[in-house]
């Protein structure tokens, strides 16, 4: 028996409902407006009044409209077909909606229930299973999509029967499970899960122990992110947050990518819609779209669904993680989500925290970041969700609640800087302010040294140190003048510029430079450090500048050339000539 109610008050998308029976916090309900049903979520209950945030425009709603409560929280539908789909924040399939405009009250099914999938059982009758255990798999694109015991199943079950290999749609009962109490339950290929609850069902969640390549040098080389790790990219507008995120999405060494466009520009999402089906995944050669799910709640779409969108995205990630996959979640931007929380808290007349954000903002953010991680599944496999969020600090000032709260929650900090962006030094990640806490993890350090080269981490620290020293001497040169400092200061400055131009800066729009595999990063960093160690003897600072500019230019041309191509080797020879002739 569903609870019902009637609308008694409306302020923007906050609607007060006088309810009958019982409602629960975060329960989903539908407000009837004429022949439309508008989805809403309970966010506060006082006496017989439930405050619901409506996920759509409330234009035309009136006092006395009827409301129907659904008895469950906001849920994601999980099953084969999620990849290469595009959803709004409530997981409505955007592709199957009618018309050019988003019509209010139009909800579409997330998955195709008619499509046939080739199912292969992985378990057999008589096996004992628990939630998230693999029953079988279907091929989704090139990925083995596991059909699992639904996450909501508590306790252990015995498989009573499992369907034979064959072509089935997702509604087909693929297995019958018998509970400890002897009750038979049917399992089909899809399940639902409340988005605000973290998916469990794994053995343990260890500390991240290996890195995830992004192809972006100033991340992989300078401040690597761990697989299952968390990072965030704050930056004022115009500093290249989105370009950087798209670059990571295109090149990230993950099997599944979920992009949550949360309160950002529609044209940026269109770019993904258009380019991802055409771009190749550098790791498999397949189309990028085949491994991507897009959750899109752009800035002009209803505000309340923005908050839902990041949770929906995270739930989909956790679902694929339970299949033992490497998942990367990118959310652009978490500030918009925080602003949605602020708007709602404001309408509910809650006492505001800093900058009028709700007081529990920090807790909400850390809770969300904590859902990322690498996990060991019960069957011995590992799966991971790596999460990188962007933050759009008001006025570019990092001392604001969302940035500060996120800094506490995320382990990598990629600080985009206006000054670098103004100088067109992209990606505009400040090499000194940014950090990766993972470089302090002994397991990550030994992983890097094993995988790349024995002295890799040492080299990274050395490069960072040169950049830092370069910044210091640049300040002194500015104060004292070119002639007022010894030539060694100029050399140090130009060494840092060398690292800046060749390693840190990267052209996201050049086919070759855009993605740098780890072996190439190793090669270039080693070469650059060798040049930094080279003893030049310059008679004056202008010769020093000219020489370094020449070397920088050659190295940049190398960055633009295919590794070890004739061109590449030719530039290398020119550099070797310079080094050999100037001992």
């Amino acid at each position: 028996m569903k609870s019902t109610g009637i609308v008694t008050g409306i302020i923007s998308n906050l609607v007060t409902v006088r309810y009958e029976g019982h409602v629960s916090q975060n329960e989903i309900c539908y407000v009837h407006a004429g022949d439309q049903r508008l989805m809403a979520e309970v966010i506060k209950v006082t006496g017989k009044d439930a405050f619901v945030q409506v996920y759509e425009s409330t234009r035309g709603l009136r006092q006395g409209n009827s409301v129907e409560f659904e008895g469950h929280m906001l849920e994601a539908t999980l099953g084969p077909g999620l990849l290469s789909s595009s959803y709004d924040g409530l997981q409505n399939n955007l592709a199957t909606m009618t018309g050019v405009f988003l019509q209010r009250g139009e909800y579409t099914a997330p998955l195709d229930h008619t499509k046939l999938w080739h199912f292969t059982p992985l378990a057999k009758a008589g096996d004992t299973v628990q939630a998230a255990d693999w029953l079988g798999e279907v091929r989704e694109g090139w990925l083995p999509h596991k059909i699992m015991v639904p996450f909501s199943f508590k306790g252990t079950y015995t498989i009573k029967s499992i369907i034979a290999e064959g072509e089935y749609n997702i509604d087909t009962t693929v297995a019958v499970l018998t509970s400890a109490e002897g009750e038979d339950l049917n399992v089909c290929m899809w399940q639902k899960w409340p988005v605000k609850v973290a998916v469990g069902g794994y053995e343990e969640k260890p500390r991240p122990f290996r890195i995830m390549e992004t192809g972006v040098r100033c991340i992989d080389t300078m401040n690597p992110i761990a697989e299952g790790g968390t990072g965030f990219i704050p930056g004022p507008f115009g500093c290249g947050k989105t370009v950087l995120q798209h670059a990571i999405a295109q090149q990230g060494d993950a099997e599944v990518i979920v992009m949550a466009a949360c309160g950002e520009r529609a044209n940026e999402v269109v770019e993904i819609f258009k380019e991802f089906p055409e771009l190749d995944d550098p790791h498999t050669g397949r189309k990028l779209m085949e491994r991507t799910t897009i959750i899109c709640n752009t800035s002009n779409m209803p505000v309340a669904a923005r908050e839902a969108s990041v949770y929906t995205a995270m739930t989909i990630c956790e679902y694929y993680r339970a299949m033992g996959m490497k998942v990367l979640l990118l959310a652009d931007s978490t500030s918009r989500w925080a602003q949605a929380l602020r708007e709602m808290s404001n309408r509910m007349e809650e006492l505001p925290g800093a900058d009028a954000f709700p007081v529990d903002l920090s807790a909400i953010i850390s809770n969300f970041y904590a859902r990322a991680g690498i996990v060991r599944l019960r069957n011995g496999n590992t799966g991971s969700v790596t999460f990188i969020g962007t933050v759009s600090p008001a006025g570019g000032n990092l001392k604001e609640p969302v940035t500060e709260s996120t800094k506490k929650a995320a382990r990598c900090f990629y600080c985009l800087e206006q000054n670098r962006a103004d100088k067109k030094r992209y990606p505009a990640i400040n090499p000194i302010e940014s950090y990766s806490k993972y470089l302090e993890y002994p397991e990550i350090v030994s992983y890097l040294n094993d995988k790349i080269s024995p002295d890799w981490v040492e080299k990274v620290h050395k490069a960072k140190n040169i950049v830092l020293r370069g910044k210091e001497v640049a300040d002194q040169i500015n104060i004292l003048g070119d002639d007022g400092v010894p030539i060694s200061y100029h050399e140090l400055y130009w060494k840092s510029e060398l690292i800046d131009f060749v390693i840190l800066q990267q052209d996201a729009f050049d086919k070759i430079d855009a993605i740098t595999p780890m072996d190439r990063q190793e090669y270039m960093l080693t070469l650059v450090l060798e040049i930094c160690d080279h003893k030049f003897s310059f008679s004056d600072y202008e010769k020093c500048a000219a020489r370094y500019k020449e070397i920088i230019n050659l190295l940049r041309q190398m960055n633009y050339s295919e590794m070890h191509s004739e061109q590449f080797e030719n530039y290398l020879r020119q550099i070797r000539n310079i080094l050999d002739n100037e001992q």
Partner: protein, 441 residues
């Protein structure tokens, strides 16, 4: 706005009156619905039980507690048809040019947004002849971009110039808090260009109530959607000044006792602005809406909530500045940005476009550094001196907004200036492009 309905609900007892809102007990009222209070247009903004709060657009001065309140039963609308062309309207969509009311289909303003999945990627260049835009910050149809300008800068003139040079089917002006002088300037500029028949204006001038401004963008964009969606036309919408629009938002939220966030702006400022700017779209059938707006700044402060939120929404921003060497107004090459430029650069323009753009700006930046050195009394190197000469020529021959060149001419001029002052390596341009375009001295 003429809403003649056979049945209208009338109330005559106001419970409370503030500077911008009135509240009364009424039944069956719907959210966002329009009403008149003592003959003034108002809109429902809050319903609490039977207590309904209305925002009175022209202010509540002189409204008595026994004012008659009529509810229209629908949100604000605009009659749309081809007859809109060439007309001037006020914030309510009523003609102010002495002409007759427009016949056409009645549409609710502020309607739903385009399904992002159904949008097309913007890919058509809108040339303006201004290098600060075409070369450095190329404008693309379906884009939204504001001028961030100080009040003393000639932003309305530049915007009118851009609009009249741009190759579009319709230009829709949304003027918010436009001074009467500027309103007449636009009218005159449009008439002079002989472009009146492709222009539609919705204007709220400074002498009119500020809250009325809140209707202007939605009116202008409803008209724009008619031409872009129904007529598949390329529409350019000019919105000036969005800062005054945001100020009106803060007045209303203040009167409704909402807790202000940064700079006493409402917490929903981002969403409120996004709803407007995101109407910019490239439609699948060929029509498009491009928005050029003006956001005036307080002494260049872009960290204020209004420009800050705008910057996060729009696809770039343009700054005007005076180049002190040449005394010309230019579009600031450092801070200005068009986020969509890479969709057309080197694709709809010559292959060297983006490299030339980056190199010319980088060298211009080096010139600024040299200037700083000079000001601080340091000796300049040979490179510094060449940069300074380059900067002067770059500003006067390419950047200045009174220069009108095609993009290919801009590129050729840039190469010519590069060759005059720099060696190929100093430009930092990719070798293949250098080989093809850099003339040997």
């Amino acid at each position: 706005m003429n809403s003649s309905r056979a049945f209208q609900r009338i109330y005559t007892r106001l419970e409370s009156i503030t500077k911008a809102t009135v509240s009364l007990r009424a039944q069956g009222v719907s959210n966002d619905e329009l009403a008149t209070v003592a003959g003034r247009l108002a809109q429902v903004v809050k319903i609490k039980g039977e207590l309904v709060t209305l925002q009175v657009f022209s202010g509540t001065e002189g409204i008595p507690t026994d004012a008659e309140v009529y509810f229209f039963g629908e949100p604000p609308t605009l009659n749309v048809s081809d007859a809109l062309s060439g007309r001037f309207f006020n914030a309510y969509g009523e003609p102010i040019d002495g002409g007759p009311a427009v016949e056409g289909e009645k549409r609710q303003i502020g309607g739903p947004s385009v399904n992002p999945f159904k949008r097309k990627q913007p890919s058509e260049l809108i040339p303006t002849g201004i290098a600060g835009i075409d070369l450095n910050n190329t404008l693309v149809s379906g884009q939204k971009i504001p001028f961030f300008a100080d009040p003393d800068q000639p932003y309305n003139q530049v915007m009118a110039m851009v609009a009249l040079r741009a190759d579009v089917d319709k230009i829709i002006l949304g003027g918010m808090g436009l001074s009467n002088d500027d309103y007449l300037y636009f009218r005159h500029a449009f008439e002079e260009a002989g472009a009146l028949d492709k222009i539609i204006s919705f204007v709220n001038t400074t002498d009119q109530p500020p809250v009325e401004r809140l209707l202007i963008p939605d009116m202008a964009l409803t008209a724009a959607e008619y031409f872009a969606v129904d007529r598949n036309e390329k529409v350019l919408v000019l919105l000036t000044d969005m800062t005054l629009y945001a100020d009106a938002l803060s007045i209303v939220s203040n009167r409704m006792d909402q807790i202000p966030s940064k700079d006493s702006m409402p917490g929903s400022l981002y969403s409120d602005l996004a709803k407007i700017y995101e109407k910019a779209v490239q439609l699948p059938e060929g029509g498009s809406i491009t928005i050029i707006a003006v956001t005036t700044l307080n002494d260049g402060d872009i960290t204020h909530a209004i420009p800050d939120n705008t910057g996060y929404i729009t696809e770039g921003q343009l700054y005007l500045r005076l180049d002190t060497d040449t005394g010309k107004v230019i579009i600031d090459p450092f801070r200005s940005l068009s986020r969509l430029k890479q969709l057309v650069q080197n694709k709809k323009t010559r292959e060297d476009h983006s490299q030339v753009m980056n190199a010319s700006v980088r060298l211009y930046a080096d010139a600024q550094n040299a200037k700083t050195k000079l000001e601080n009394g340091f000796d300049l190197s040979d490179y510094d001196l060449r940069c300074l000469d380059y900067a002067k020529e770059y500003a006067s021959r390419i950047l200045s907004i009174d220069v009108n060149l095609s993009i290919t001419e801009m590129l050729d001029t840039a190469w010519e200036i590069f060759a005059k002052y720099f060696s190929p390596a100093e430009t930092g341009i990719k070798q293949a492009i250098l080989d093809k375009y850099m003339k040997k001295n």
